[in-house]
């Protein structure tokens, strides 16, 4: 049984353009959502949260998972841009990127295949701790996918490749409304992308564990 916890997507400019979680305790998104719900009925990122007051969320069983980042244009209530920034989440994204970036660089250097253009010639695929395993995939254009799962899962490389080739390229890259700017990073706010991604992860999680 593969338990997928969350997914980060970083673009070439080191910015997190997408984060979603399916199974996480003490998530900064859930905390923010609760705080928001306490004051008024806000729609956060096209979602209205109902009922759930526990701090741990597992959303593979019906509810749509929380997503980040969202820009102020995606909410229907006019709130100031300040209150929409989830600083905790931003910091977390930066930390995750820093860990992955440094690890990948060390591995490249140890293989003496480092270059100033990055890439993953050293072949960094995953690392594990007691509680989770982090899987990494870097596309040749520099987009980075980071997936956290339970410790038992050995390799999610095919899954990450699938996500890149058939979901990211299909619904994000080929979307003419997704602006690609060499200077500015745009977050992914695409319902199709989210839906297909959720379905795919749901399938993966409920299928039998793939032979490694």
């Amino acid at each position: 049984m593969v338990v997928v916890n969350n997914l980060y997507i970083f673009d070439r400019h080191c910015e997190c353009i997408f984060y979603t979680e399916w199974n996480r305790t003490n998530s900064p998104l859930a905390a923010e959502a609760e705080a928001g719900r306490g004051s008024k009925d806000l729609v956060r990122g096209n979602q209205v949260l109902t009922g759930d007051t526990s701090s741990s969320r597992s959303s593979l069983d019906g509810q749509r998972p929380l997503v980040w980042p969202t820009t102020s244009t995606s909410t229907t209530h006019r709130v100031s841009a300040e209150s929409l920034r989830n600083v905790v989440m931003e910091e977390e994204a930066k930390l995750v990127y820093g860990v992955v970036y440094s690890t990948r660089n060390i591995i490249n250097k140890l293989n003496s295949k480092d270059s100033s253009q990055g890439g993953n010639p050293g072949g960094f695929t995953s690392f594990a701790t007691n509680t989770y395993r982090l899987h990494y995939y870097e596309a040749p254009t520099g987009v980075k996918f980071i997936l956290n799962t339970d410790v038992g899962t050995t390799s999610m490389q095919p899954v990450l490749e699938m996500i890149y080739r058939n979901i990211y390229v299909e619904y994000v890259m080929k979307n003419p409304l997704f602006r690609i700017d060499p200077k500015v990073s745009t977050p992914i706010e695409n319902d199709y992308f989210r839906a297909v991604l959720n379905n795919y992860i749901r399938e993966i999680s409920s299928a039998a564990m793939p032979a490694s």
Binding site: D114, Q117, G118, P140, G142
Partner: protein, 311 residues
Amino acid sequence: PAFPIEYLLVTLTHGFPLEPHPAFRATEPFAVENREHLHNVQTLGALKRQIVGALDNSERLALVLADFHLLVYMFGLNLLGAEEVAMIGRVVSEPMEAAQRAEELMAMSGWQTLVLMLREAADTMAKQYKTIGDEAWKNSVEKVNAELFIFTYGSLVVQLLRDHEDCTAVNQQLDKLGYNIGVRLADDMFARTSLDRCSDIRATADVIAKIGFRMFLNTTPTVSLWTSDNEFSLLVEDNPLNDFCELPPRALGDGLWYSNVLCGVVRGALEMMHMQARVWFVRDVLRGDDTTEIRVRVERMLDEEVPAADE
């Protein structure tokens, strides 16, 4: 314990000769090893170019072999026997009789094996790209009606001409359009094939021509007219966009490049692969030239961005 201090004075001869006669006197130096970050990579293709290009003239071969890094790379391939190595040593260290030695070298079997392998090796890379491109075209790409595409593009150019009147502005617009397409096309190509990053610009040029153009336009331009290792030309024999198209004299006179969108596409795709390039049209059959030529110059390699440090 205290050691007795003694001094030993040694005279070392040093200095530079008044008339230097270096043994390694190659005029076109081979790439230095361990300089991948400068994108000057030692590849079999580069070795092939140096050696096979000089095989007809033993003087030239002797000159080409008088290059330390080339020799190190070649010996590292483990294809030459001890005899050949010794002969090469004599070629380099006896410049007066270098041509003769080079002739003797060319007769040796180990050397001939090496040349054969070089000829084969570099070619298979090119063949590989071609098969990847063909296979991608056949299986991985959804196809659309060519005429629909050509006519849509044509009407787009016509509309741009009506809006802008000035052909330079239209060229710029087409280039911008192409750029926006190109940045997405790079990811699309990687999604459909199992390619990885190219090691140098020559491989990149091959991939663009044999795989990129083939996959998306079903035409394979030839890569040629290399100057200085980072500038090359794509000679497109049959540009599908040119079908059914005829340029009016006003557009001809003003300098319209009808397929300028292709330049933008190449520029955008290269930028996604961390290469900043200038891409422009040199000749176009629509303007009466004999062939269509797009020139690409890779100005610099873009480094990967580093995350901003926290203060």
